[in-house]
């Protein structure tokens, strides 16, 4: 194969075929892909189907703790998992800038394959387009995902039945993805040891749904961070949310860098974190299940649903003051996923 991506790699001709066979099929390797047909036949199942899509444009494409390939798999897997689905199949669409190094593409695709295997999903269909140099920035990836509703659930986790006293739990340290990407940008020249938390959460979430009753809803904490998700939930369900600043989990390095740059971990992006609302009676059980899993080791109860201030999020600050939490306005950091 040539060392760089050429326009003809996306033309549908000889080079496209070689790219598909030698790179994509070789790495993603499954029966569906090997047939090289226009559509994949996924068979018949009796379960509720959940479907989602997301596009990935992160810059830089390689960052500590992950890369655009890994992100494009776990991001879509997580969108399915938090809705209560067991993710099964993904599609992968690539838009690649002419001149993109083949070696980098190989790394990205290998990383996608590794993460898909880890998450137990198959990449069953795909597409590649190449655009003229300067018309895209290196590589953009779109993945769509299909999953099947967890057998213990009657419908997707949509927050039905949320009530006063429900506990709010997050599975670990906040802000790592956002800061890892920011620090990796050359123009900032910050050196840090912060790694992106980028990970597929379907394994952990499956354990929770298998063992814990009374899970009202879950959301992954991507762009906009915990604050934005909390505000959305408070608004949608018309509930008051009380958070305790003292209980928000964040690593020392994240806190330090945030102080230095004037950022707030509450608003930073995550790619391996989710928040769950759960019946208070199940909170202890949920914490046990989460803490037994590496992706939930630092799980914390961070607040609860309250009767006061419906549709608003209020945080008790660590010095005992009260502060309203608002959604992120504008963008804190562009192109973080």
């Amino acid at each position: 194969m040539s060392e760089r991506i050429l326009l003809s790699h996306g033309s549908g001709g000889e080079l496209t075929h070689r790219l598909i066979e030698e790179l994509f099929v070789a790495h993603f390797d499954n029966d569906q892909l090997r047939k090289l047909s226009d559509s994949s036949l996924l068979g018949r199942r009796n379960d509720e189907i959940l479907f989602t899509t997301d596009s990935y444009v992160v810059d830089p494409i390689f960052f500590p703790g992950g890369d655009i390939g890994k992100l494009s798999v776990c991001g879509t897997v997580n969108d399915l998992a938090v809705a209560g689905a067991q993710p099964a199949y993904l599609s992968a669409g690539f838009i690649i800038e002419e001149g993109f190094p083949m070696e980098d593409l190989r790394r990205v695709v290998a990383s996608m394959a590794r993460e898909a295997k880890q998450a137990g999903v198959q990449i069953v269909t795909g597409d590649t387009k190449v655009v003229n140099k300067g018309k895209a920035d290196k590589i953009f990836i779109n993945t769509s995902g299909v999953g099947f509703l967890h057998p213990h659930l009657g419908s997707s986790l949509n927050g039905r039945g949320i009530k006063e006293g429900d506990k709010i739990i997050v599975n670990g340290h906040l802000g790592e993805h956002g800061l890892a990407v920011l620090a990796a940008r050359e123009d900032l020249q910050i050196s840090s040891q912060i790694h992106s938390d980028c990970a597929s959460l379907n394994g952990l979430i499956n354990k929770i749904l298998n063992q814990v009753e009374g899970v009202r809803m879950m959301r992954d904490l991507t762009r906009g961070g915990l604050a934005t998700v909390m505000c959305e939930l408070a608004g949608q369900a018309n509930i008051g949310i009380h958070l305790e600043e003292d209980d928000l989990p964040a690593g020392e390095q994240v806190k330090g860098l945030c102080e230095m740059l004037g950022l707030d971990p509450l608003y930073l992006a995550n790619e391996g974190k989710f928040v769950a609302m759960v019946d208070a009676r199940s909170a202890d059980k949920m914490m046990d299940v989460m803490r037994a899993d590496p992706l939930g080791r630092n799980a914390r109860v961070i607040g609860e649903v309250v009767e006061e201030h419906p549709s608003r999020v209020v945080m008790q600050t660590r010095i005992g003051g009260r502060r309203i939490i608002e959604m992120l306005t504008g963008e804190q950091l562009p192109r973080i996923c």
């Binding site: 123009d187 900032l188 020392e252 806190k255 330090g256 102080e259 740059l261 707030d264 201030h309 608003r312 945080m315 008790q316 600050t317 660590r318 010095i319 005992g320 003051g321 009260r322 502060r323 309203i324 608002e326 306005t329 504008g330």
Partner: protein, 361 residues
């Protein structure tokens, strides 16, 4: 976090609040003039801890908020030139000028880059020798020395494509104007970072001439509460004076070296403050010796600006005459997503801080 947690200790905070409650025999109103203080006060929820009689007002200490519209219009005019790269601190991007913001202009295709420091802007100039790089120099005594050093560096390197559009401002004239205006305050929470450069002597006449208590404060919650306590103790003893609470950073004489850089490159001029109008000797112009790096001189453009916003009372808010909620536009026509007045644009602005942290209390 080490060196941070110590200043946010709950017991210490409770103790300070207890002392404030005990020592204050009457209601007091204080003004914080630094945007950093406004942010910290709301971020930590300090007003919710204070006894009812102690009120805090936000002054003109957010550099973005007091930047004149004509400055934004001028920056946009530069950004429209095909060979120009405009480098700016992020806060300025969304400030509305007469016809849109830099953010809007960037969407139209102009090369406008957000930088964290002027050194990044210098690097951009080095990397693009065939394009003109305009750095938007805003801020008070805190950021002006940095701009001065940048201009000196560009001069040494003969970076003939590097220019600064200065809107640097000096804090004391604004504090004077507010005292002069008879705003009902009992004292100033004096700016911590500005004072690291200027020292504390420049506030003396505010205490002497206007009888206002002055305490230079740090930015942690315990700093701010201790400073409020010091202000109250001064006033209870009827001895308004200038004190430094932020001793770990501020010396009475300030940072002489930084001031020398400022003096070498800048000269005071009358300047327009959004909300306050024109204040004598309140801005910094680039000296003749360095005018080849002065965008105003080296890249002359005509801009027409209408300074007034219909219905916006940012000026009254900046002067402490009004609360953000007194404004008919607040949280309806004017909000952080679509700011009308400058106080809603910056996270340090009184209106945005109020919108974010206090709106429902």
């Amino acid at each position: 976090m080490k060196y941070m947690d110590e200043y946010r200790d709950r017991k210490l905070i409770d103790n300070l609040v207890g002392q404030i409650t005990k020592r204050a025999s009457r209601p007091y109103t204080f003004m914080e003039v630094c945007g950093g203080h406004t942010m910290a006060i709301h971020k930590f929820g300090i007003p919710s801890l204070l006894p009812g009689g102690i009120r805090l007002k936000s002054g003109p200490g957010c550099p973005v908020c007091v930047t004149a519209k004509t400055y934004i219009d001028r920056a946009i005019t530069y950004a429209r030139m095909p060979d120009v790269i405009v480098c700016t601190y992020g806060d300025l991007l969304r400030v509305p000028g007469s016809r849109g913001s830099l953010y809007d202009q960037r969407a139209k295709g102009s090369d406008i880059r957000m930088v964290y420091s002027l050194l990044e802007a210098l690097r951009v100039a080095r990397e693009h020798p065939n394009r003109r790089v305009v750095f938007l120099g805003i801020g008070f005594e805190t950021t002006a020395p940095g701009s001065a050093v940048g201009i000196l560096q560009a001069d040494r390197e003969r970076l003939s494509n590097f220019f600064v559009l200065s809107s640097h401002k000096l804090m004391p004239p604004a504090m004077d104007a507010i005292a002069e205006d008879g705003v009902a305050i009992d004292g100033y929470l004096c700016p911590g970072h500005v004072s690291t450069i200027t020292g504390s002597a420049m506030y003396r006449h505010i205490a002497e001439d206007y009888g206002l208590a002055c305490v230079v404060s740090g930015f942690e919650p315990s700093d701010i509460l201790q400073s409020l306590l010091m202000l109250i103790v001064q006033l209870e003893a009827q001895q308004p004076k200038v004190e430094i609470q932020y001793k770990r950073a501020v010396r009475p004489e300030g940072n002489i070296k930084a001031r020398n850089f400022m003096d070498q490159v800048f000269v005071p001029r009358d300047d327009w403050w959004r909300g306050l109008g024109e204040l004598k000797n309140s801005g910094l112009a680039i000296r003749k010796e360095y005018q080849h790096h002065d965008a105003e001189y080296a890249m002359p453009v005509e801009v027409t600006t209408q300074e007034e916003d219909h219905g916006c009372i940012c000026g009254e808010v900046l002067k402490g005459h009004s609360e953000p909620t007194d404004c008919p536009l607040f949280a309806s026509a004017c909000n952080p997503v679509h700011p009308i007045g400058a106080c809603m644009v910056s996270s340090e602005g009184a209106c945005q801080a109020f919108y974010k942290y206090k709106r429902y209390e």
